[in-house]
Amino acid sequence: MEPKRIQAPLTDEDVMSLKAGDNVLINGVIFTARDAAHKKLVELMDQGEPLPIDLTGQFIYYVGPTPAKPGQAIGSAGPTTSGRMDAYTPRMLEHGMKACIGKGLRSQVVKDALQKHKGVYLAAVGGAGALLSKKIKKSEVVAYPELGAEAIHRLEVEDFPATVINDAYGNDLYAEGAKAYAR
């Protein structure tokens, strides 16, 4: 099946058009955050303080790239394990995040929150950091520079490939995919 081109940020309508198993190519601006940045963002939410980035409609990519070599926009930049962000993801969705990109299993709480807030979880190919870095045309730190590779980066992406794992309807590619090929 041909991949669908989608433009970041996403509307509710965009989210509802995505189904588990869809291959997509993401274009536009996305933001990065890993464990440490999530912790800081959720602390601000708890205190009712403004966030350093507006999450409305945004994609969050779970990645900690290698340092860029001279001439590179970014170093190797594949997804990290999403489960470590499970504790924070429902809060991110409450604050407007529409999509997150990582790899690996999500908790039931996250899957329920995706349905409730109309969000979607996608996986990029884990370990394909060199290939994925070519789809990132520009990278700049927009918050928490002290976190180094874990700082929040603003990325401009072109045809960044990902696969929908958990959609807003409660479908789960990890469960369905394995069922289809188990013997």
Binding site: G21, N23, V63, G64, P65, T66, P67, A68, K69, Q72, G75, S76, A77, G78, T80, T81, G83, K103, G104, L105, A123, V125, G126, G127, A128, G129, A130, L131, L132, S133, K134, G148, A149, P161, T163, L173, Y174, E176, G177, A178, K179, A180, Y181, A182, R183
Partner: protein, 281 residues
């Protein structure tokens, strides 16, 4: 007595850190290409193609295969007849890691204390080093940058001797099933059997240093490797967990003699970027 300068060790280590992270080994390439022929899922095939393309980009552009350039793990076989000069082995290896990770634009992924500060050491040291003394006047250094995502999906269990072969199979297959897509499949599964609680984990790690797909020299364990691999791939998890026939590229078993009361078992998982390298100095 052969004299060997610590700086020589550091030079080799610095090169190995970069080489292993940039050039995927031919053993892994071969295993990926072979699985592309047998994979039945179109999405699975697409993932395998992306992984092969990724390794080619890394090689051509001298950029890391994966952004997780790992915890630096070393197994050193040190010949009795070699005398190290100008520093300790530990210092020499760490100096090489420091230089290799900086010069190679590799990610520094090590934090100081694991619970409280978690402050990045800034140079990917310290390395994890295992040393064996062996006869002769050569030094063999084996290096693997070990990613955190797959390492987190590893475990040890003290089985009972009465659990037997079926117990080992169940333990490994059930554990790998629970790990699912998290360790970046297609994975390489390192299995340790025997020894103590600590030794069995080292054996499982050592199993990941074997060229991918090379069987255990003992035909009984080679057969067991095949059986477990078949059961793992029959789970249908497939490349990246998207569904398919290639969940694992290989299962490697390393054993050690066991206490009469015990049958320790360990699983250490590697992602498809099964990076490992050795040099004889």
């Amino acid at each position: 007595m052969r004299e060997l300068a610590a700086s020589t060790i550091s030079d080799h280590v610095a090169e190995m850190c970069q080489e292993a992270n940039i050039y995927l080994g031919e053993d892994v390439f071969k295993a990926l290409r072979k699985s592309l022929e047998t994979e039945e899922s179109p999405t699975g095939k697409e993932v395998l193609k992306q992984l092969i393309e990724n390794a080619e980009i890394a090689r051509n552009e001298q950029t890391p295969i994966c952004q997780d350039t790992g915890f630096a793990i070393f197994f050193v076989e040190w010949g009795h007849e070699v005398h190290l000069t100008g520093g300790t082995l530990e210092e020499a290896i760490n100096a090489g890691v420091r230089r290799g990770y900086e010069e190679g634009y590799l990610r520094k992924s090590v934090v100081t204390d694991p619970l409280y500060d978690r402050k990045n050491t800034g140079d990917n040291t310290p390395a994890v080093i295992y040393t064996d003394l062996v006869p002769g006047d050569r030094v063999k250094i084996s290096f693997a940058p070990k990613g955190g995502g797959s390492e987190n999906m590893s475990t040890v269990k003290m089985l009972k001797p009465s659990d037997g072969e079926a117990g080992v199979i169940d333990f490994v297959v059930n554990h790998v099933k629970a790990a699912g897509p998290n360790p970046c499949p297609p994975i390489v599964v390192g299995v340790g059997i025997g020894g103590t609680f600590d030794k069995v984990a080292v054996q499982a790690k050592k199993a990941l240093f074997r060229p991918v797909g090379e069987p255990n020299p003992d035909s009984r364990f080679a057969e067991l490797e095949k059986t477990i691999l078949g059961k793992i791939n029959d789970l249908g998890v497939g490349p990246q967990g998207f569904g398919g026939r290639t969940f694992a590229l290989a299962v490697h078993i390393e054993t050690y003699p066991s206490h009469i009361a015990s049958m320790a078992a360990a699983v250490n998982i590697n992602c498809h970027a099964a990076r490992h390298l050795e040099r004889i100095i």
